[in-house]
Amino acid sequence: MRQPSVIARRVAAASVSLVMAAGAAACGPKDNDAKGSGGDSTPRKGGTLTVLNSEPQADFDPARLYTSGGGNVPSLVFRTLTTRNRENGAAGSEVVPDLATDTGRPNKDATVWTYTLKKGLEFEDGTPITSADVKYGIERSFAPELSGGAPYLRDWLVGAAGYQGPYKDEKGLSSIETPDARTIVFHLNKPEGEFPYLATQTQFTPVPKSKDTGTKYESHPVSSGPYKVVRNENDGEHLVLERNPNWSAATDTERKAYPETIDVRSGLDSSVINQRLSASQGADAAAVTTDTNLGPAELARVGGDKALAARVGTGHFGYTNYIAFNPTVKPFDDPRVRQAIAYAIDRSSVVNAAGGSALAEPATTFLPNQKSFGYTPYDPFPAGKAGDPAKARELLKQAGHGNGLTITLTHSNDKNFETSPEIATALQDALKKAGITVRLQGLEDNDYRDKTHSVKTEPGFFLAHWGADWPSGGPFLAPIFDGRQIVKDGANFNTGLLNDKSVNDEIDAINKLTDLDAAAKRWGALDKKIGDKALVVPLFHPVYKRLYGKDVKNIVISDWTGVLDISQVAVK
């Protein structure tokens, strides 16, 4: 699951609207350029690209980053064994080779994966990149000093569960072999057909052991990508990246690297970012953001301004906001109560609370509505657009709650418009019509996470969300519904505490598949099967809309990230 770095804190609230009359008049002549910026005007090398972000790149260490597909700014500096395909739409959710010559060669049951590095790969200082550097990079991500990455390596690699990294254990991991300088072999403890997806994460970045400075490495990580870090102020608040002379475009077909310099400014208020991008003055004309979406208030103005509307990039990232039930808490142990709630909810008012129909799409499936996830449309409890309170009352009556029901909905107090009070009050209002009185329990963010992620304290009825570690059903369904992933003494995400042998077996069976299209279809079918249990009620999938400056060209938005790919952008 990706954490909020992807989604700006004030996402939906983010924002101030756009400058209409004055703004348009002042930037009149250049707006014609902007119209063509969708990709048909030829991008050229040169210039400085400014990035305006709200969250600082505080952990600019490949070991500590938690990304989907290698991230946006990080992927300018860190190359990985594989990477995401930098193309528009569905094609962009494919995995393609990066440092390696292919996306990986599995053995028969997908437990051993072998990669060969391309020839002529060099670090920013000109030393060649070897398979040992990749191995070392992965190993150091196990050090407690450098924690923060995704859990898969620890779960999948043989003998990795208790490994504490090369600082404490110099022998390293025997499950990663480097028979020669260009070959690297991974031994997994179970079949994992989606290993190529995992190899896109920054932990698969080569790190030269001689240059490793532990927790200090983040201030100047050694680049393998088209840009190197020349300035890192205030712990990632201001990053300046310049062209890495030892990167060769011949070995990298994915990154275009048009601008000479990338200037990343962070710690900005999200409303200010959108305000600056819409005004697009001075250096902001060549600016983008990699973490701040347009909010509903801005959207209200974009419709009236064609020049601005032309500068909005729209994309979909695999993400679902949903209601979670804990079936061990009464009355949610009764499926009829859960179903009644599923019927009673008003998805249109939830969508409005999340920013309106342009920023959120009502969801009835847990899997995101994209092909790569194996999206299979279904709606086990059709509530229509605004809910079916009559059906809900009927179910409640059957369950013995004919005189109404009072329940508590737990939500976070964070202003994220996902698990926040706005969504909770919209649900509260809708359930009232079905005779359900909802008490709201708002928890401070850390408290909320602690409580909802612990089997001991998990509330019965709460708001939750889940994002894709890569665009496939595996990392979306397994942590939530695989019975063997119930964590008793730590962070648990199987909130419905589902431990169904047929579900577990199907997950294992799909993980064996290395044909990812075939796997996608079966994830979709499994999603439908689980959906009938009403352990979760999907609410909406977010839509990402982001502004970019008027001189920005070559916009590519894949279904993998849902946001413009910074490695493709040109400012000349």
Binding site: A143, S147, P151, G162, R265, Q275, D447, V487, A491
Partner: protein, 332 residues
């Protein structure tokens, strides 16, 4: 002078005790605050095994008093930290190391303080001019239009939260009228001119909040002076109203304005959280709020102590300046 030295000593002793108690309170409060620090540092998906490793690394399993003892040790004797590949020494006074980023707290504070100072110093000039000016006008020209407008503006500053004032200012001045570029903080040492331009709106927003207090204070203290007998005598002798205001009434107000200014300055250094957040100024206040949210105890304690230090210092300075400016007051 003995009295003065004694006063200074007493204030220093008082300040040390205050800061000490403050640090204990923060430790206790954040100890009972929900939020599994190791899990937050490690990431939400970390397994129990890994969380345990991180907790050991950060010495989070130690009881509260042990952790506080380590803090005191660092403060007086310095501390050593492992970066993984080497050992780094943090000399006394060492406020520890951030749980989240591993940076030394003293480093963090040293990079944030200049920003907070930049903000508050500039705002101070504006709130003094605006506040005292309004106060003088309203004492001098009670009931005139100019006085009413200025008073309304300063009161609007009190009544409107800074996130509204600041944002509207930015939209109008930078977005619609395009008089200024959007503020983007630049270090004074990098480019003093850009520094000033980038801080203009934050200064104005912060100053608007504080100005009303200065206006009230100036007005009240001037009226007080104007009512005194010697002023009546001056007037009777035909001294012009302007001279009375400038030479006597304003001078009478100086002491209290200085005192208020010192205290306002002291609390704004770490207290301008909303202004810093809105304008993206990487100052003390913004960092502190972030640290609280991720339960980064060493950063929180360090920052609170620094803020407390400035508040205590400002109050002492206020007392001294006040005593110097107004000999009627005896230092207690």
């Amino acid at each position: 002078m003995n009295g003065f030295a004694g006063f200074v000593l007493r204030r220093i002793a008082g300040a040390v005790i205050t800061l000490f108690v403050l640090s204990v309170i923060i430790y206790v409060v954040f100890y009972v605050t929900p939020g599994n620090v190791a899990q937050i540092t490690c990431g939400p998906r970390c397994s129990p095994v890994q969380v345990h490793q991180v907790a050991q690394q950060l010495q989070l399993d130690d009881p509260l008093y042990v952790r506080y003892w380590h803090f005191l040790q660092g403060l007086f004797a310095g501390q050593d930290f492992s970066t993984g590949t080497s050992v780094e020494h943090c000399p006394a006074p060492c406020l520890g190391q951030s749980y989240q980023t591993g940076r030394q707290v003293t480093d963090i504070i040293l990079t944030k303080l200049p920003v907070s100072f930049s903000l508050v110093l500039g705002a101070m000039v504006i709130w003094l001019v605006l506040g005292v000016g309004t106060g003088v006008l309203s004492a001098w020209r009670r009931g005139r239009l100019s006085e009413r407008v200025l008073t309304a503006i300063t009161l609007a500053g009190v009544a409107t939260p800074v996130f509204v004032i600041g944002l509207v200012l930015m939209i109008v001045v930078c977005g619609e009228l395009q008089l200024l570029p959007f503020p983007q903080y630049v270090n004074f040492t990098d480019d003093p001119e850009q520094w000033a331009w980038s801080l203009l709106l934050p200064w104005l927003s912060l100053a608007l909040i504080e100005a009303a207090n200065f206006a009230r204070l100036t007005r009240a203290s001037m009226l007080e002076t104007l009512a005194e007998d010697h002023i009546r005598t001056f007037r009777a002798y035909g001294v012009g109203e302007r001279a009375v205001i400038a030479r006597h009434a304003l001078r009478g107000a100086t002491a209290s304005v200085i005192a208020l200014n010192a205290v306002t300055f002291g609390s704004a250094v770490g207290g301008a959280v909303l202004t810093e957040t809105l304008f993206g100024l990487p100052g003390i206040g913004q960092e502190l709020v972030h640290a609280v949210k991720v339960v980064d105890l060493p950063v929180v304690v360090g920052m609170v102590l620094v803020i407390g230090f400035f508040v205590v210092l400002a109050n002492a300075v206020a007392d001294v300046l006040y005593a110097v400016a107004d000999r009627r007051v005896v230092l207690a």
